[in-house]
C-alpha cells in the first residue's frame, strides 16, 4: 500500500510531488534525466494563445537563498503545445496540470477550452499571478472581483477541474482565495513569485532587463507557508502549496500548513533530480513522524 498517494479534484496522484510551472518546461529536458512517470503530476509551462518570445535578457539574477526571474511567459503558443508538447508527455504515466495564461479574459477562455480537451491534461492552473508581463497575468490576480469573473468564465468552458494560482503580491491573499472559490475554482495553487529587484553593484541599475523579477527559492518559503496557513483556514477547496521547497521536510511543512500536494520550483535548477529524490525520501520522513499515511498530516498545524 502506498503511503504517499493523494486525491485531488481531477487528479489521482501517486505522490504529492510535482514540478512547478515554469521550472520544468514541457518536461523534455528532465525526461533525459529520469523517468517522468515517477512524478505525482507535472505543471507545464504557461501556455498562451499565440507564441510568446518573452522578455529581453538578462532574465535571471541570483539573490540570497533565491533567485529573481523575468522570463515573460515565453512559450510556443497553444497550437504547438497541443500538437507537440502534450503528445510528447503522453508516453509517461503522469497527469498533467496545464498552466493557462493570457492578456484578456477571452485569451484564458480560448486556451482553457482547447487545452482541457487534451487526453493527459487532468486539471488547469489559471495563471493570474505572473508578475513579469505588462498586461494580464497579475492584474487578474490582485482584484477579487476580476479574479472571480475570470474563474467563472473559464469554469464555463473547461472540461477538467480548474485550479487558480494565487499571487503573494497582494494585501490580503485570503480575500482573493475566497473570491476564486466563490467563482467555482476546484482548487488553489500558491504561491507565485514575489516581485523583487536586484541592483548591479557597480552601476546601481537593475540587473534584470525587465527591472523587476519574481523572487523564488528557499528565501520565500516562510512567506508561502504563512499564506497557505491562512488560506487553508478560509476556504474549503484543496491547496497545492509551493514556494522554496527543496526537500522532504519542506513538503511536510507545506502539508502541515494545509496543502494537499506540493510543487517544487527553483530547486529543479539547483538539483535536477530533486523531485524524485524528495519522493524517495518521503516514506522515511513519515516513519520518523510516526504517521501511517501522508494525508494524515494535511492541515495538522491547525489541529
Amino acid at each position: 500500500m502506498s503511503r504517499i498517494n493523494v486525491e485531488l479534484p481531477g487528479l489521482d496522484l501517486k505522490n504529492p510531488i510535482m514540478p512547478a510551472s515554469g521550472c520544468f518546461g514541457f518536461g523534455r529536458e528532465y525526461a533525459q534525466l529520469y523517468d517522468l512517470s515517477v512524478l505525482g503530476s507535472i505543471m507545464i509551462k504557461a501556455t498562451t494563445v499565440e507564441t510568446r518570445l518573452g522578455n529581453p535578457t538578462p532574465r535571471v539574477a541570483e539573490t540570497p537563498a533565491g533567485m529573481l526571474n523575468a522570463i515573460g511567459l515565453q512559450n510556443p503558443g497553444l497550437e504547438k503545445v497541443m500538437k507537440q508538447e502534450l503528445p510528447f508527455l503522453e508516453k509517461y504515466d503522469v497527469p498533467i496540470i496545464a498552466n493557462v495564461a493570457g492578456t484578456l479574459t477571452e485569451d484564458y477562455v480560448q486556451v482553457a477550452e482547447s487545452i482541457s480537451t487534451a487526453p493527459n491534461v487532468k486539471a488547469l492552473e489559471l495563471n493570474i499571478s505572473c508578475p513579469n508581463v505588462k498586461h494580464g497575468g497579475i492584474t487578474f490576480g490582485t482584484d477579487p472581483v476580476i479574479a472571480r469573473e475570470l474563474v467563472e468564465a473559464v469554469k464555463a468552458v473547461s472540461k477538467v477541474p480548474v485550479y487558480v494560482k494565487l499571487s503573494p503580491n497582494v494585501t490580503d491573499i485570503v480575500e482573493i482565495a475566497k473570491a476564486v472559490e466563490a467563482g467555482g475554482a476546484d482548487g488553489i495553487t500558491m504561491i507565485n513569485t514575489l516581485v523583487g529587484m536586484r541592483l548591479d553593484e557597480r552601476t546601481g541599475k537593475p540587473v534584470i532587463a525587465n527591472g523587476t523579477g519574481g523572487l523564488s527559492g528557499p528565501a520565500v518559503k516562510p512567506v508561502a507557508i504563512r499564506m497557505v496557513y491562512e488560506v487553508y483556514k478560509a476556504v474549503n477547496i484543496p491547496i497545492i502549496g509551493m514556494g522554496g521547497v527543496t526537500n522532504a521536510q519542506d513538503v511536510i511543512d507545506f502539508m502541515s500548513a494545509g496543502a494537499s500536494a506540493v510543487a517544487v520550483g527553483t530547486a529543479n535548477f539547483v538539483d535536477p533530480f530533486v523531485c524524485p529524490n524528495i519522493i524517495e525520501a518521503l516514506p522515511a520522513k513519515l516513519e520518523e513522524l510516526g504517521v501511517k499515511h501522508i494525508k494524515e498530516i494535511i492541515g495538522r498545524s491547525h489541529r
Binding site: 518546461g25 537563498a65 526571474n69 529543479n268 539547483v270
Partner: protein, 257 residues
Amino acid sequence: MIRQERMTVVRQVEIAHHIYELVLQGEIVQDMNPGQFVHVRVSDSFEPLLRRPISIASIDCEASECTIIYRAEGRGTQILSQKQVGDEVDVLGPLGNGFSAEAATEGGTALLVGGGIGVPPLYELSKQLNARGVRTIHVFGFATENVTFYEEQFSALGETHFVTVDGTKGTKGFVTDLLEELQPEFDVFYSCGPLPMLRALEQFYPEKPGFLSFEERMGCGIGACFACICKTTENTEKDYVKVCSDGPVFPKGVVEL
C-alpha cells in the same frame, strides 16, 4: 548523456591573477567534448543557490580527468577556488553542444580566437584539431598581462599570439587589431569571448565557415528555464535559441549579434 556526479578535486592552481585551473576526476569525463560546459554547485547550502556554468578546458579520458579554468570573481567562484585536493564537487554535465572539430579538414588550418576567460574551451579544441592533422593559429586577447595564461600550452600546439588592452603583453589593443595586422591564412575559425569580438569576427570573415561560443546568464543549464535565450537571425528557422542546450557553440550567422 547528462549526469550528476560528485567529482573529486585532483589539483587546483591559481595560474593567473584570480584565474584558477581546477582538475576534477569522475566518470562523466568520458562523455565530454570540446566546447561543452559543466554546471557546478559550489556549496551544498543555499548560499549561493544556483550552479555555475564553466567551460571545459581539457579532457583526459584515460585518467577520467577534466580541467576547468575560471575567474574567481563572484561569491560562487570564490568558494570554488577554495576547494582542496580530495574535496568533492557536485557537477552536472557535460552540457550543451561543443565545437565541431570535424568541420576542419586534415591538412587545413583553423584560426582560434579567444578573449579573456573565453580562451579555455579553445585549448581542448586545439588539441583535438592538431590530433586530426589540422594546423592551428591562436590569437588571444586579454585585459592585461597578469590575467594571461596557457601561453606555453598553446605555443606547443601552434602559432600563438597574445594581445592585451594595455599593451603589457604582446601587442597593444584588441584581437581585431592584431588580426588586421597578421592577415592569417586559414580555412575555418572558432571563437569564444565577449560579444563585440564575436560580432567583429563575423564581419571580418564573411566568406569563411566559423563557430562561435556564447555566454549568457543561466538558470537550469539544460534548456528548461528559458533564461539564456538569444534572438536568431532572419535566415534561421527558429525564432530563438537557448545558449545552454542549443549552444553554447553555434555556427556563425545563427545568433543575432
